[in-house]
Symmetry: C2
Subunit: 121 residues, 2 copies
């Protein structure tokens, strides 16, 4: 598998970040080719922000970066699974994982920090 064989849909692939030790799913986002290239070369997760239309390094503001241990690709070659060591919390809301609540609204995630303490210094 070469990166050029990945199938970028409208320039993007789905990227899931999972704790490399516990298996906890931390977040899902998108990558363009540059984000994937930078992730591979630096072993730190980079994503493409669809709302801001720009490349971003996870943790560039908060310091909560993701150290990438392995990258898996799926059968269709249009999604990647990053096995990461999460520094701090993955979620900008302060939770360890962005998936911190059930669809019924129950909060089940672990809160690690107050967003104001991290993002508004």
């Amino acid at each position: 598998m070469d990166i050029k064989d990945l199938k970028f849909d409208n320039g993007l692939i789905t990227a899931i970040a999972q704790d490399y030790k516990t298996g906890e799913v931390l977040m899902v986002a998108f990558m363009d080719r540059e984000a994937l290239d930078k992730t591979i070369s630096t072993k730190r997760a980079f994503y493409w922000s669809r709302s801001r239309r720009k490349l971003w390094k996870k943790g560039e503001t908060s310091g909560h970066e993701q150290i990438v241990h392995d990258i898996l690709i799926d059968c269709d070659a249009d999604a990647v699974l990053l096995k990461v060591e999460q520094i701090g919390g993955a979620c900008h809301t302060g939770y360890r994982s962005c998936f911190y609540r059930t669809i019924e609204g129950e909060v089940i995630g672990e809160k690690l920090f107050e967003p104001d303490d991290v993002y508004k210094k």
Copy 2:
């Protein structure tokens, strides 16, 4: 959180299926509102196929359905994480997970069946 508060992008949300016991990420796909509604009401995973442009029940051909134990939503409310009990293999290629190889091309997944035995009877 009500389903109507989820943010469907072009009618779709990202849906990750994860083994509810082992934490293994099995696949990632998309859901429209109907797929999510049916998943909630039947406790079996339904997805929207972008290529075939139709609703599909996971395992409807193979029998390899996903029994849904929990549904988590992410901070942005535009992705769901299904905690599932996977019957058979999640991947149409015969592997337990669609993420059965590294980006370097090494196959690391567990193969459970030969696709011809399941899909071409």
